[in-house]
Symmetry: D2
Subunit: 367 residues, 4 copies
């Protein structure tokens, strides 16, 4: 178990789906950053299940800040956020004590924790834990915003339907996405996606997708290669999100059929600034930001909880079984995962910037 | 700069392309592991430029082990490997002191290190540094092999040509790949790839590709979620390799158009063992290995060094320029990057296994 | 700020003296460890102010475990413990917004956090935060006890009065100390100490002391030199406790007037075991435990909060001032610091043992 | 094994006493720092055995810088320094394969590494490894000096003889100590110490001592409590030095018989600066520097290698033995340990300053 991530700005997660609460501790955040409760609420609402695309579990997400905030701003001390669990129907999950839901961590947690893990609702492996991550991520995102750094994520593809790509100047799109609980650039494509999600739901099935994120305003010179390149740190954080199974930067896997003359992103001077004409490298050269927008994609697998009966095993008794997952589940988590992608992006960049520029860089005023 | 990676088994890299040497320190390796000089030599030969697909730079890679090995086996103390640089033609690179090669780290290193970085041949950002990584990776791979864990990587795609995929029982294929400097499963497809690489070279251009890796024999229960999932740690290490711009596990980005009922990998009992019928999750559930083969892919961008003239800037004088990269360069590094992928995979898994099972787990005999 | 400590078993602290709560997250603890609420209560009671030697602040320490414990045992997931703050009289501290209490962190926190720190009662620098450390330390200590490892700390010196030293076979003494809120081996010496503490209190002053700790049952071979020697890790943790200003092992500073022939601790075979005849090295050779009892001492400075008027500055206005600290304070914290020393010792050893032997070593049954 | 220390500025050590070389990798050092070969040579000469107080082993310490330095200044990339071993008489040490020298790591290394450790001359546990630490420490110290931060260490006590203490304005004393291979403030006391050392040598015995270090010019606000206080980080590094068994700050263990009214170090304004009238806290309040000189002491145990016959065990055969250590050894290492104390102090402070102020803080010119 390693529930802490980050070198100077770090986050520590705790909690189980059906325990008293989930929570997070954000340490190393610069002092003086305004804590914007609206931004936290928005991040939580983006992650929260809603509408017909989501589990029927009602999550109210009444978060409490236990420390690290004084008179509305960060103090420089660790910020603990706790979100109590409510509306937990543990009885739904009793059979998970011994039956492995395919695609879930039930079996691997059993092997690792020898049967002591809290199996109710997936325990610590539940996506519920990411609610706390979204809350502290929103605090980091506020700090970045004060420095002109903004993050936006859309569903680039879902259930086989593609959204339109980001434009070259994605500022307005980032603004739009902040308002959309189903984050697409083309609302028409979004409707198609939704239709496919509902069709899968009808079938007792689920779908996956791709989230694409852009970050504008990042200064050049950030990232700590060899091993802590900007790509390495972001991918590390992003791949810890349940369901994310791939991360790529810039042209990503499409590089395989391209040539260097296309993908090299020629530099040019634009007044006093140095820019690149294209951005196939996703804003990173040699692991260090080059001042262009960061651009990366996350592959999200179909929700493993499906209503269809599935073959599996009783791992305590080493016996084949058939499982019909009862309880509440989502036919798609791609749109909800967006909130978590935004959160870990903000947290990781806050860390990299603090490593680069010192621990008061993110303070709106110099302490 | 962060040139150390790993929690209990760690590697520290140093060196520049045109300095006296490159090297690596492998710390935390279990005592008693035989150091197989043939395996090191093979790893270095896989990475070394060769034939018409590579730079004309002759790298002899005469490595020296300065510590941590006594009477042919590891001692438990840090293992330092140094590879002196030879045949360095620094004059070729003088203009890199101020001209940014597109797609390279010249400009970002300038921003980060204020003009103090050694620019000759890319300095510390040169792929040359990975020779040392391959040497220590081979030591880690030997230790894994003694535990029945084997790693194989092939070129799944290069210049738009796809290799055949791994079979369900890839043991024999891993053996074959160890012998092949151009690591493909289908030699016919390999010939097509080579033809396309040479065509690009003719054009003064370069190509990219995808490397796919399989690891057999991994025990279930390895990986440290939330943040240090098996996927997170591997992706972190893999994305630190120059040119790698994406990492995905199992079905990866193809998940976006699949359904949960296809991708959930049903469990079944096979005698006393628990296996899955398919392996869309690439051997990992919830960030923890499930005992199935690990399966992941790396996207490798086209080599940024190309012969064609390119637009760029003189970053010291903030002036547009045209650059024709002289010196030696590869039209394709995908096949060579395989050696580095194998190395960081071995190192990362050695670390995860040691975290899980203790620091003598990889000793062939219990110390 | 770095509020996380430990490699595989780690603790993260949060909270301020006058905020809603203090808390700690214990991550990496082995699954299956019984959580002994009596042991937690005892640790908290050892730290809690009591009697005439302590502040009048009443701390009830009603702790809540928010995660990581299921059916009375640890799950392997992070264990979050929260202790709400009550009986906080913040008005007592208003002048601390700008006046530095000598010997406290008020001024240095101001420099570091630019006036954003929560100054009430010392904020995050308050000893109050260590209550949470004691709670999770008690969980770690339970796990160690199941492995036969026991920790005992006494006041070796206080206000110039010395206790008798540990005997060679300190098992019974460890048992006694667990029952004593004023932890001395000689109750007579303890009465002298108390008399001196009360005399200092009369004078509006405070006293310091030395805590000496013994750990029995540690296996040989634990510790990660060069840098993470057993001594280094323990001292790191111990010196993070407010008021602890020195840590020494074995004969410590007395080594300065001794000779090697006295201090070398000759080895001998006792049946199948290897022991040393003396223990000047405090159970550690070359940074690694040798199987003898660990023995170390912590110097604790006099409580900086005293009733006597003191010269100081208003750091916001750069002006000399005289300060009379109002509010509640202890004439001595040495006896209370014992609980924190025991806690960080247990946490640090749990980490070192897990690094050495793997993450299920501390499970009472093999998971 | 953990041979890497430091968060942003880190050092990695390798090498054995009788292997090909010892070495160190310094990573994260700011670019543009002049590498002063004279300062490195001086640090090495302070550590090197000399005169009648030391082993007869001749160490030439011809160091090589393999990376990270270009045109005489640091590049920002890792700096690898290698010092080849010469004049190694391994035959002297053959019996150490199975006989434990009392006070040494032979037995504990055997337990930990299962007989695979290189036992010749103590292998990786030899003080020889610290030569590399001194070399990279000298680079860090140069960077600090450019910022007005200077480090000086004297022998406060040796063989029962005390030196005079540092004055309140120790600048001149730091200068003197840099020139003295036997670092005392009072040369008369130094002669007494030397006489006692030689007397011990005559007896085939050895002596210990206390080193006291002062650091001037440290800015206020440095240190990362709770866990990474300035005291914690320094003690961690200092206690990793072989032979150092205690570290204390300011009045240290003398606090035990002092009162708060004496030790609280009242603040006062001196023009625009805030200072304290006394410095019992050794320049640190609440784990954070307060701008006064850092002041700390290290207890150094008597050299364990003595000529007198000693009782011990053959740990491979579990048999009592008598050992007469042949080979070369020092009757005292206190004066030589000074160089290592200075080195780890410089490295630790460079790290803490970089964490606080960002990674170019130590660059003499802003990159």
């Amino acid at each position: 178990m390693k529930n802490t991530f980050g070198d100077l700005v770090s986050v520590t997660l705790f909690g189980e789906s059906h325990g008293p609460a989930v929570g997070a501790v954000l340490d190393g955040m610069a002092p003086g950053v305004p804590v914007d409760s609206e931004a936290i609420a928005r991040a939580l609402s983006h992650r929260r299940p809603w509408g017909e695309f989501s589990t029927a579990r009602r999550e109210e997400d009444e978060y409490q800040i236990l420390s690290g905030v004084f008179r509305g701003v960060t103090t420089g001390s660790p910020i603990a956020v706790v979100i109590p669990n409510r509306d937990t129907k543990s009885a739904d999950y009793d059979e998970l004590a011994s039956l492995a839901r395919p695609g879930h961590a039930d079996y691997t947690a059993y092997v690792k924790y020898g049967g002591f893990a809290d199996w109710r609702g997936g325990g610590h492996f539940s996506g519920r834990v990411t609610a706390a991550l979204c809350a502290v991520g929103a605090i980091a995102a506020s700090a970045l915003r004060e420095k002109g750094i903004r993050i936006g994520t859309h569903i680039a593809e879902c259930a086989g339907v593609k959204d339109v790509p980001f434009s070259d100047d994605p500022g307005r799109e980032i603004g739009l996405l902040a308002e959309r609980r189903f984050p697409v650039l083309s609302e028409e494509r979004g409707e198609e996606m939704k239709a496919r999600i509902l069709a899968a739901k009808e079938d007792g099935d689920s779908v996956g997708g791709i989230l694409e994120t852009v970050v504008t305003g990042m200064p050049a010179g950030v990232g700590e290669p060899f091993f802590d390149s900007t790509e390495s740190k972001l991918a590390h954080a992003l791949l810890s999100i349940g369901g994310v199974k791939g991360v790529s930067f810039g042209s990503g896997f499409a590089f395989a059929s391209m040539r260097g003359s296309e993908t090299n992103d020629p530099f040019f001077c634009d007044g006093g600034r140095i820019l690149t004409k294209t951005n196939h490298n996703g804003g990173v050269n040699g692991g260090i930001t080059n001042g262009m927008p960061l651009l990366f994609s996350c592959a999200v697998k179909p929700t493993p909880s499906i209503a269809l009966p599935q073959e599996t095993v009783n791992f305590r008794e080493n016996r084949n079984e058939t499982l019909s997952v009862r309880g509440r589940h989502d036919p798609c988590i791609v749109h909800r995962a967006r909130a978590v992608v935004d959160a870990v992006t903000a947290l990781t960049l806050a860390d990299l910037l603090t490593v680069r520029f010192g621990q008061t860089y993110l303070s709106p005023v110099t302490p």
